[in-house]
């Protein structure tokens, strides 16, 4: 069954259409949306277990990689589909997945489903609301599996639209500003990225000839992936020269760090989150930010390794600054949701730092961090939604003693906060630990490795802002006005239970995910250093 990936795009798209057409009542709209989303999650789960253990891949067969026609090393990409679209322009429909994209696709399906469940009582234009979620799911799945630049760009842009409307229609009081800011920021990032795509296209004939035997310009991403790998492992003498890689690297990196986001292009994120509805925030932080990280590994590292080896320090500096800066800014936040938004900036700094290390363990940690952060931040944004629903406010100074009146909420909050601050045994500890191991052991650093203490400061400050927040909102006496706050709603509980279970499961048994990521890094980046 090789059409599984197209199915993953078509199911939510079809779902969106069905919701728009048939979702005449709130009940109907959410039930249709949920069933399509569950089908999508099931498909993604079959895909995931097949990757964790090929012998479990019974539904769609074990994953098999498609090699390019020419002999030599190649980047294994699985379940590939390739159709010619408009051959005159070199446009193809190419999709494929590997250990980098599978966790993210699964995360997309899972978080969409849970976001829908979390919004079970959404009454404001339910048809459009639930439909947009499915549309967003389609676009996100597409981004993570597109292997043609044109397709990638289309999906990349399609992601913006549903999120723009989710913020702009269902958002808070300042939603127009936030939605516009989100749109302009990421769109500018995209437009600049387009220069990179064009430059690659006009310099692709040589690579295409070497990999696919066709001496024509191409937008096929796999040509560059295979070409770069062969060049790095000595199988291909001429690839894009460094002088060309560097400007391309720079424009892509710009697009990706805007999306990630990294200091100093992060200010759209807190505004977007504060205004977005809970489910929008969950997908925004849980999956949309991961597009930036995905792009860095797929394009900057996978296709431009020479530039990566030259400019790793840019990522290291940006990552470190984001980590420390965001941690301090979090400490001063009043709005709980804003705090969580800034904490995302800090946690995405780990991704940059891990990638910059150019070590096996650091890169693995960074990819794992994408997944772990998606799980944890989904919990945290849901909590911000729950507390707003229950008490009418998200401002930390107005909340106090919630452990007494909202014990379930408080338990989840404590788990989420401790997971986010990297408590050993919970999932994000592993990714953060691996990033630090990689960064410290990076062959680039030499004597400068003692600088590792700077990003490590952020660990203490992160603990400080979480523990300080818990002290203020959970502990102490309950003020009169919060005395009757209701605890978690039943459908909210469903979403939390699934995510918290993952926090523990991945924390205690990280191997299924790490094994998958390990297979990806060792096959795609054999040139990485470190232990």
């Amino acid at each position: 069954m090789t059409y599984i990936l197209s199915l993953l795009i078509l199911v939510p798209l079809l779902g969106a259409v069905v919701v728009w057409v048939a979702g005449t009542s709130q009940r109907l709209a959410k039930l249709i949306a949920l069933s399509f989303s569950l089908v999508e999650t099931a498909l993604a789960s079959f895909l995931l277990v097949g990757f964790i253990n090929p012998s479990w891949g019974v539904v769609f067969g074990p994953p098999t990689a498609t090699p390019p026609p020419t002999p030599g090393a190649y980047v294994p990409l699985f379940y590939m589909e390739r159709y010619t679209w408009i051959s005159q322009f070199g446009l193809n429909y190419i999709v494929g997945v590997d250990g980098l994209s599978i966790p993210l696709i699964w995360l997309t399906a899972l978080l969409t489903t849970l976001a829908l469940v979390f919004h079970w009582d959404e009454e404001n234009r339910p048809r459009a609301f639930f439909g947009l979620f499915l549309f967003l799911e389609m676009a996100l799945a597409g981004v993570f599996m597109a292997l043609d630049f044109f397709l990638f760009a289309i999906f990349w842009e399609l992601v913006l639209l549903p999120m723009f409307f989710l913020i702009g229609i269902w958002g808070g009081s300042n939603r127009r500003y936030a939605a516009l800011k989100f749109l302009i920021f990421t769109h500018v990032g995209f437009v600049i990225m387009l220069f990179g795509i064009f430059t690659l296209y006009f310099n692709s004939a040589g690579v295409n000839a070497a990999v696919y035997g066709t001496n024509a310009n191409t937008l096929d991403m796999t040509a560059f992936l295979h070409g770069a790998l062969r060049h790095e492992t000595g199988g291909l003498a001429t690839y894009l020269p460094l002088a060309l890689q560097i400007p391309i690297f720079a424009v892509f990196l710009f697009g990706f760090i805007v999306k990630l986001p990294s200091f100093p292009f992060h200010t759209w994120l807190p505004d977007a989150h504060v205004e977005a509805p809970t489910g929008g925030s969950v997908l925004l932080a849980g999956v949309l930010l991961k597009m930036g990280g995905y792009g860095i590994f797929r394009i900057n590292m996978g296709m431009l390794p020479e530039a990566m080896k030259d400019l790793w320090w840019v990522l290291a500096v940006l990552g470190t600054v984001s980590m420390v800066y965001a941690a301090f800014v979090c400490l001063a936040q009043v709005d709980l949701k804003r705090l969580i938004a800034y904490s995302s900036v800090g946690h995405m700094g780990f991704v940059l730092l891990g990638a910059s290390s150019l070590t096996v363990i650091g890169v693995q940690g960074a990819i794992f961090q994408l997944f772990n952060h998606g799980i944890i931040t989904a919990i945290l944004f849901m909590l911000a939604g729950s507390v707003k629903h229950a008490t009418g406010t998200r401002d930390i100074p107005d909340l106090q003693g919630l452990a007494k009146v909202m014990p379930q909420f408080s338990l989840i909050l404590a788990i989420g906060f401790f997971a986010s601050l990297g408590l050993p045994g919970l999932n994000s500890f592993w990714s953060e630990f691996m990033v630090f191991v990689g960064a410290y052991g990076s062959p680039n650093l030499g004597e400068m490795r003692r600088l590792i203490i700077i990003p490590l400061i952020s660990i203490v400050v992160t603990a400080a802002y979480y523990v300080y927040t818990m002290q203020r909102i959970l502990f102490g006496d309950v003020p009169e006005k919060l005395g009757h706050s209701h605890d978690l709603l039943p459908w909210e509980r469903v979403s939390y239970v699934v995510l918290v279970a993952l926090v523990f499961l991945v924390g205690f048994f990280p191997v299924p995910f790490l094994g998958m990521i390990n297979a990806y890094t060792s096959a795609s980046f054999p040139w990485l250093g470190g232990l």
């Binding site: 639209l161 409307f165 800014v329 300080y468 390990n518």
Partner: protein, 702 residues
């Protein structure tokens, strides 16, 4: 070989299971699941004994037992299988003894809790959290590598945080929990860096493999600087966890938690983890061959922090009126003794190794011996204090007094505990503390600095006896000064106290049948004979000195607080005395300084950066946005007046169309949504249509 290896795993899994059961359904169980916790702990204790007995049977005494790793599963896979990080248990003399000690104390304290926490509404939460804690502590002492140790160490830290803040509606408890977590977190980060460095140098984190690779990596990969840095970083973690200067400030405040928690976590077990870690770090401190230059600087830092903190903390215990805080300062001080013993022992050993002489691990054994003894008598003192607090409902010793009549059992067992803490023969504290002081004195031969540290230790022995009996006399002697009607605690609380009181004698004397504690717990080769057996004469002299000053301290406490022949006011009335008293009650202003640092430096930095983010970065963003709008409206005007003007002139029809289109521009975002979606559908249709057209045309061409 341990028969039935899974038994060792079960030691950890039983309390973990209790945690899960109580956490899920504890509210519905009798005593909030207390019996489940006690039952699981009893099981862990029996299994720990089983493992320990096997170790003994296989020659544990005298070094015949070969340390054994019980494999678990892989945590982080790696390209090279030997580099992957696994969870596995290490069973050797030290860990098997620690398992017994921890599970026994947990069991006693859980039983005591059945009485102490009986009235509390949060019982289920309590038993769930202490069961998780027990898992963490048992995991810490049986970890086979530094990362696993760190993980269980942090689980303990989490439980400590939750249990200090157990009565979370009290603002002091919430603040103390935060302080404990953050201060120890500073140490944990240093520990984490240590783990990173070890991993980077050795490519493994397991104790045994590190020791094996040491000789081949020195001095190229493992430079002398790194060999100094690694134990110091690990010790940084120990300083946080064991509340040593300068990260000591959290422990006295941690007394806001239930007294059982103070006894278990903040006296008997968790705070010992730092000592345990430093003992495991001996593989770095004491090299296996003379080819490796030992990291003397690191050793000296450990000993000096220990020597300083022991006196430093003891002085603060002298002026406190909170019965639990006195014991907390005392815990800091006694832990510092252990670090002093480890440091002095390591120095002597390292010196001997570098001279190629026979190695004697007296300091290592003495420090762990003190750990063992202290766990019993300090748990006893805390539980006794808990019994007192249970009776009089206050922590303030000024509202106690004369309680020996109403609390006869408590007062007697606390007397036992006090004598052990003060180091009076034949109670356990005497042997181990005396041994530490003699080891320190002996290290003076290699480095005269240790004579100074010895002097600090002897001074502390004096203060220890003084504050211990100050506590005892203020609580149990004289007339009752409070307003309650105190009565003795129930049997479920007094029986554990009596058992522990027995151990204040037994734990010291147990070394005798072992042929000396050093015969069981040693680093390198067993050191049979210490203490009690075959002690050189000079050591009798040194131990006589340490007990002599203890007796003096006891006598002074008697004179000041029992007979009141020397009133304390005489000291505080003088100008210098008043200043010292103020300095000690303000804890040398260190807590204030930390608070001020957190409030002003850290928090103000955070606020400044937040301002920077909102005003500067976002200001630039908004400025660029506004600039864009200006440019856009300019070109809009150009478009409408110049270009559109020309167009309008050409075709009126265009204007009409435009007017019609303008009606569609309702300004409603959702209507834009439909337009955009429609647009996308059109684009997709167009693209697909084009591709079909192109194929069709291509087909025609062929």
């Amino acid at each position: 070989m341990i028969a039935y290896e899974w038994v060792a795993w079960l030691i950890l899994l039983l309390p973990l299971g209790a945690f899960l059961v109580i956490g899920l359904v504890g509210r519905r169980l009798p005593e909030g699941g207390g019996m489940v916790a006690v039952g699981a702990m009893a099981g862990s204790f029996v299994l720990s004994m089983y493992v320990f007995v096997q170790v003994l049977q296989q020659g544990g005494l005298g070094g015949g037992f070969i340390p054994q790793t019980i494999p678990g599963y892989v945590w982080i896979p790696s390209l090279l299988p030997e580099n992957s990080i696994k969870i596995s248990l290490l069973i050797d003399n030290l860990s098997s003894l620690m398992l017994v000690l921890v599970s026994f104390l947990c069991l006693l304290i859980f039983v005591y809790s059945l009485g102490y926490m009986h009235e509390d509404d949060g019982k289920a939460r309590y038993y769930a959290e202490v069961s998780l804690f027990a898992t963490g502590m048992l995991g810490t002492v049986s970890a086979d590598n530094f990362l696993q140790l760190l993980i269980f160490w942090e689980i303990m830290g989490l439980c400590s945080y939750l249990l200090i803040g157990f009565w979370y509606s009290k603002p002091e408890a919430a603040a103390a929990a935060k302080k404990a977590f953050l201060v120890t977190r500073v140490g944990d980060v240093l520990f984490l860096v240590g783990v990173l460095v070890i991993w980077n140098v050795f490519g493994t984190l397991s104790f045994a493999e590190i020791q094996g690779k040491m000789a081949s990596l020195y001095p190229n990969t493992l430079t002398p600087q790194l060999l100094t840095l690694i134990p110091l970083l690990l010790f940084g973690g120990a300083v946080g966890k064991s509340a040593q200067f300068p990260l000591h400030a959290w422990l006295p405040d941690a007394m806001e938690g239930p007294t059982t928690v103070s006894a278990l976590i903040h006296a008997a077990t968790m705070v010992k983890a730092g000592v345990y870690l430093t003992a495991r770090a001996f593989i770095f401190l004491v090299p296996i061959s003379s080819a490796i230059q030992p990291p003397f600087t690191a050793i000296l830092v450990i000993a000096a922090i220990g020597g300083f903190t022991t006196l430093f903390a003891a002085t603060m215990a002298v002026v406190n009126f909170d019965i639990k805080r006195v014991l907390a300062f005392s815990t800091i001080s006694q832990l510092a003794y252990m670090f002093l013993g480890l440091g002095a022992g390591a120095y002597t050993m390292a010196t001997e190794v570098s001279h190629g002489e026979a190695v004697d691990s007296a300091g290592y054994s003495a420090a762990l011996y003190h750990l063992f003894n202290h766990a019993f008598f300090k748990a006893l003192l805390f539980l006794g204090a808990g019994s007192v607090i249970h009776a009089v409902h206050t922590n303030d010793m000024r509202e106690m007094g004369g309680l020996s009549k109403s609390l006869p059992i408590t007062s007697k067992v606390m007397l036992f505990g006090g004598l052990a803490l003060a180091g009076i023969v034949p109670f356990s504290g005497f042997f181990s503390k005396g041994e530490i002081l003699s080891v320190t004195f002996d290290a003076g031969a290699a480095n005269p600095g240790f004579y100074w540290l010895w002097a600090l230790g002897v001074g502390t022995a004096f203060l220890t006896a003084f504050y211990t009996f100050r506590l005892w006399f203020m609580t149990f002697h004289g007339e009752y000064r409070g307003h309650e009607h105190p009565h003795e605690s129930p049997r479920v609380m007094t029986v554990p106290l009596i058992i522990l009181a027995g151990f204040t004698l037994a734990s010291g004397l147990l070394a005798y049948p072992m042929g000396g504690f050093g015969n069981l717990i040693f680093f390198g080769a067993p050191a049979a004979g210490l203490p009690l057996v075959g002690i050189p004469v000079q050591d009798y002299l040194l131990e006589g000195v340490s007990m002599g000053v203890a007796v003096l301290g006891l006598a002074l406490a008697w004179a000041v607080y029992a007979t009141k022949r020397i009133p304390a006011e005489r000291f505080t009335a003088s100008k210098g005395g008043a200043f010292i008293h103020r300095m000690l009650t303000k804890r040398y202003w260190i807590d204030d300084a930390y608070d001020a640092f957190g409030r002003t430096v850290v928090y103000d930095a955070a606020r400044a950066l937040d301002w920077f983010d909102r005003k500067v970065i976002d200001g630039i963003v908004n400025g660029v946005g506004r600039g864009g709008v200006v440019v856009a409206s300019g070109s809009d005007r150009f478009d409408r007046r110049v270009i559109d003007g020309a167009v309008n002139a050409i075709s009126l029809e265009t204007v009409r169309t435009g007017l019609r289109l303008r009606q569609r521009q309702t300004g409603q975002v959702q209507s834009y949504a439909w337009v955009v979606v429609l647009g996308i559908v059109v684009v997709i249709a167009l693209v697909f249509g084009l591709s079909f057209l192109q194929r069709w045309l291509g087909g025609l061409g062929r």
